[in-house]
């Protein structure tokens, strides 16, 4: 845990800075991360990091600078040095053409509602045992890979505006196992997420993969010819599409700068199908809940799309300052995006029983945006993808590319699952900062454009 002494000396430096008339934001980020990686049915890497970062941002009139330090932070002097460097850089900066909005912690917050001691201190041996059990129960004739990241994050932030302090402590994990057939080359995946050690169970993985293995074992790959298809998108794919549509459609910055697929619309316009509702909800327990953002604002339930209608755009404080808007609590790396569920059957196969031939694409690999302004995305199927006929799993499908738009895919959804799932969207580039999105466990979209396919998985 962040040493109480470090938080005390951070406050001391804040007090010094405030008394000297410096305008600054000081934040500590402490992570204890563990990751076990699996390759060729072996543990290929077992790694732990214990790192503390200090971020200081200084505003000097219209001039700003930031300094991040990752090293030994034990003394007032270290923090003071980082502050002095930021002050010096801010002095030498070029002034902006607008007035920055100062950071200010609205009210002190102490949150650790999603902290689990058992996960924070999870013995790597537990992970090794779980993988061993999965390998032995699913069989030696596959090649297994995967990773299991777990750890804790603490964030503590203060500003020179007042002595309020926000503090957050949480745990998170993302478990992945990939099973590859050595001869036929197909790959199946199972992931689990959560903030408690007990959110993971070997049985869930065995059940999920056990359901798919026979279909993959018994049937050859199916090549999908380009054209329009009815597609069941599984929760991973739904989260990828929803997330990208949010980041390219509902951020104030992209909208103001006419780079977003909603730039020709305004709040109140219908931009997606009537059955689509999306929000940023810091209180949804299927996301990693952060009650404040890094400008010190309290985060609140924030409607983005209601029944297809654009409700609000998200403004971080620098975009708000630049375009004369109010910040909306979105100076954050961990939003809680939620897509509402519908009334579809729990099982996607039942939902498409009368639809004839449909594709089941549970995840999209390597999504990108050939045209952000038009909302066009592209990505390909990879794991667990199936051809379904009359609600029955028929065969696995080869790597298949979808190139379509958010408006078309989220404008032609005929079924939305009544069950929600948490999909972990965290990456481990740089600092640990967990992100999860809550989405329906599947959606069925009509007229989805398949633009290419391979002869292999």
């Amino acid at each position: 845990m962040l040493d109480a002494n470090i938080r005390k000396i951070l406050m001391e430096v804040r007090d010094q800075a405030a008394s000297e008339g410096i305008q600054a934001t000081l934040a500590l980020h402490h992570e204890k991360s563990h990751l076990m990686r699996i390759g060729n049915s072996s543990i290929s890497l077992n790694t732990s990091e214990d790192l503390t970062r200090l971020d200081i941002e200084v505003t000097d009139g219209r001039k700003q600078a930031s300094q991040t330090f990752l090293g030994m932070i034990e003394e007032t002097e270290t923090i003071r040095n980082v502050l002095d460097k930021a002050v010096e850089k801010a002095k030498a900066a070029a002034p902006k053409t607008y007035d920055p909005i100062p950071d200010e912690v609205e009210e002190s917050v102490y949150e650790e509602i999603q902290y689990d001691e058992a996960l924070a201190n999870l013995d790597p041996g537990v992970k090794a045992d779980a993988y061993r059990e999965i390998f032995s129960k699913l069989g030696d004739n596959f090649n297994y890979s995967g990773s299991w990241s777990s750890g804790s994050v603490e964030v503590c932030m203060i500003t020179t505006a007042n002595r309020n302090e926000v503090y957050h402590r949480g745990t998170d994990q993302l478990f992945t196992v990939v099973l590859k057939h050595p001869g036929k080359k197909w790959e199946l995946i199972n992931t689990q997420t959560g903030w408690r050690a007990s959110d993971f169970s070997v049985e869930k993985t065995l059940k999920e993969l056990g359901r798919l293995i026979p279909v993959y074992e018994k049937n050859p790959g199916f090549k999908v010819e380009p054209g329009e298809y009815t597609v069941i998108f599984g929760s991973d794919a739904v989260s990828e599409i929803a997330n990208l549509s949010v980041f390219t459609g509902f951020m104030g910055r992209g909208w103001e700068e006419k780079q977003s697929w909603t730039s020709q619309n305004k709040p109140g316009d219908e931009v997606l199908g009537k059955n689509i509702t999306l929000s940023d909800d810091p209180f949804n327990p299927q996301t990693f809940m952060f009650g404040f953002d890094m400008s010190g604002r309290k985060r609140k339930h924030f409607p983005l799309i209601e029944n297809g209608v654009l409700m609000n755009l998200m403004y971080d404080s620098s975009t708000a300052a630049r375009y004369g808007r109010e910040p909306t609590g979105h100076d954050t790396r961990s939003m809680g995006i939620v897509m509402n569920t519908g009334d579809g059957f729990e099982c996607p196969l039942e939902a498409v029983r009368d639809m004839g031939r449909v594709l089941y694409i549970p995840a999209l690999h390597y999504m990108n945006l050939p045209s952000r302004s038009k909302g066009i995305f592209t990505g390909s199927s990879r794991f667990n993808a199936l051809l379904i006929e009359d609600g029955k799993m028929v065969s696995p499908i080869f790597s298949t590319r979808i190139t379509d738009s958010f408006q078309n895919v989220l404008g032609n959804v005929s079924v939305i699952s009544s069950v929600s799932e948490s999909v972990n969207g965290s990456n481990t580039y740089g600092r640990r900062m967990p992100v999860a999105i809550s989405v329906p466990s599947y959606i069925v979209a009509e007229g989805v454009k398949i633009t290419d396919s391979a002869d292999s998985f």
Binding site: I38, S42, N46, A93, N143, H365, Y366, T378, R401, D452
Partner: protein, 494 residues
């Protein structure tokens, strides 16, 4: 403990201790300084003025054929960091089907410094802003809606030691620069044209590089005039034509469909749960026709000033120049010590004679993995860009990526670019907007029909290659000439 000589002595002691304990291999990377400075002007406003400074040590221990890794900034607890790495390796060794081994090596003592005439960290912020603000002013024009000018300076001072007895010191400096102009086209869609700092392959990589007009600043007027044409242009129609890639696009094509599929850890299946695998297997080497006779691809390429040039990799192997693809035939991969040993053992023959020196970690708190270095296409004998255009009947020339999406085994791809020029009967005619092209890797490289000469070759710098778990961003370079491919699917089906 802040005295670096004392830290190094302590590292030696701990490496000996863990080796004597029975570890198969031990190394430590001590980052005395890892600094990065980012400056971003958005419509002239200084939107990013950020510096990050990191320091610490990363320790890797191989025990019973499995890796354990631990990292800390706390140099007073070096011993416990080594112990943690050892403990992690011991836990990992309980589940090993394919044991990893590094092999014996003679110790190497060496050092490498990026060729730098002026260290960018000695240049004042005022001078940096002066240069970038002048560049931004050059981008101003009535029709331009948005301007971006970006620079990033990196410096790493790394001390490496391993249980071979090797000791290597590296002082690495990287510089990246980018400028972009944007405007709305007739459909209200934002179009952009950009230019990134590139290298000619020699010269320095410090401040002098970014301020060298031909490598960066002097392209401002060109991208403006190209954008002016682009916003009035027609959309590229769907079809099959020749595609001529300028290096601004060609380097990413090479990166995604030669570089990544030839990283040996991907081939051996160590990236399956994240980045993906490769359509290449161990039987492919020496046999697989990857491309036409015109295709020669190399690793490193003896390029002096590129982020993919670093002297020694993080296994302690000197970086070396070798061919990956020779006259269209796949001959080698991007390799590191443990991966070479595993591949040869698995194939029951010597597929690779030695490590290619590509093991690299992005920071002290990440463990090395196989990363492409400079993966290059060698210049050919089909003349200049003009020569290649004049020999093209029906095609397009494309530049700079907007979007890239590649199949998980790198077997197929889809790219979107900033701009295309139509080529008809040997003449460059009109500009076309929203160009995309797609293909299947082997079919595509086998349609390579022209490779430009040295006058068309340049080293493009990449600062954002992502791979590995925990995730790592890496900096590399690609030396590429102008290249032409025939019968490629372009545009999107209606």
């Amino acid at each position: 403990m802040t005295d670096s000589a004392a830290v190094k002595k302590e590292i030696s002691k701990n490496i000996s201790r863990i080796s004597l304990d029975g570890a198969g291999y031990v190394d430590a990377r001590f980052y005395q300084d890892d600094s990065s400075e980012t400056i971003l002007l958005y419509d002239g406003d200084l939107e990013a003025n950020d510096t990050t400074v990191e320091s610490g040590i990363g320790v890797r221990v191989l025990w019973g054929g499995a890796w354990g890794f631990a990292a800390t900034s706390d140099l007073s607890s070096l011993r416990s960091c080594f112990d943690k790495a050892l403990l992690n390796a011991k836990t990992a060794s309980e589940l090993v089907k394919v044991p990893l081994f590094m092999g014996d090596r003679d110790p190497i003592t060496g050092s490498y410094s990026s060729p730098v005439a002026v260290d960018p960290f000695t240049v004042s912020l005022e001078d940096k802003l002066g240069f970038l603000t002048r560049l931004d002013a050059d981008l101003v024009d009535d029709f331009i809606l948005k301007r971006i000018v970006y620079a990033n300076f990196q410096k790493k001072k790394i001390h490496f030691q391993n249980s071979d007895g090797s000791e290597i010191n590296k002082d690495l400096v990287n510089v990246f620069g980018m400028m972009m102009v944007m405007s709305l086209d007739s459909d209200g869609e934002m179009q952009r044209r950009s230019m990134s700092l590139y290298s000619t392959g020699d010269g320095t990589s410090g401040w002098k590089m970014i301020t060298e007009p031909v490598l960066f600043a002097e392209h401002s007027s060109r991208i403006k005039s190209e954008l002016k044409g682009l916003i009035k242009a027609d959309t590229l129609e769907y079809g099959r034509k020749s595609v001529i890639l300028l290096p601004g696009q060609g380097h990413l094509q090479v990166h995604e469909t030669i570089g990544h599929p030839l990283e040996l850890d991907r081939i051996l299946g160590y990236e399956l749960s994240y980045a993906g695998g490769s359509f290449v297997n161990l039987d492919s080497f020496g046999k697989l026709r990857y491309g036409s006779d015109k295709l020669f691809a190399s690793s490193y390429g003896g390029i002096l000033n590129s982020p993919g040039s670093f002297g020694y990799d993080d296994d302690g192997t000197p970086e070396r120049d070798y061919l990956l693809i020779d006259r269209g035939i796949l001959v080698n991969a991007l390799t590191s010590r443990a991966m070479v040993n595993e591949a040869n053992e698995k194939a029951k023959r010597e597929v690779f004679s030695q490590s290619g020196g590509v093991a690299r970690a992005t920071s002290f708190y990440r463990a090395p993995i196989d990363r492409m270095t400079n993966v290059n296409i060698l210049p050919g004998d089909d003349g200049s860009l003009e020569d290649i255009i004049s020999s093209t009947e029906d095609g397009i020339v494309v530049d700079n990526p907007v979007s890239w999406s590649i199949g998980s085994n790198r077997e197929h791809f889809h790219f979107g670019c900033e701009i295309a020029w139509e080529v008809k009967n040997g003449e460059k005619t009109r500009i076309l907007r929203n160009p995309t092209y797609q293909g299947h890797t082997l079919e595509f490289y086998n349609s390579l029909s022209a490779v430009g000469d040295k006058s068309t070759w340049r080293v493009e710098l990449v600062d954002n290659c992502g791979k590995g778990e925990p995730n790592q961003v890496m900096q590399i370079g690609h030396g590429v000439p102008v290249v032409k491919f025939d019968d490629v699917i372009i545009g999107e089906r209606k």
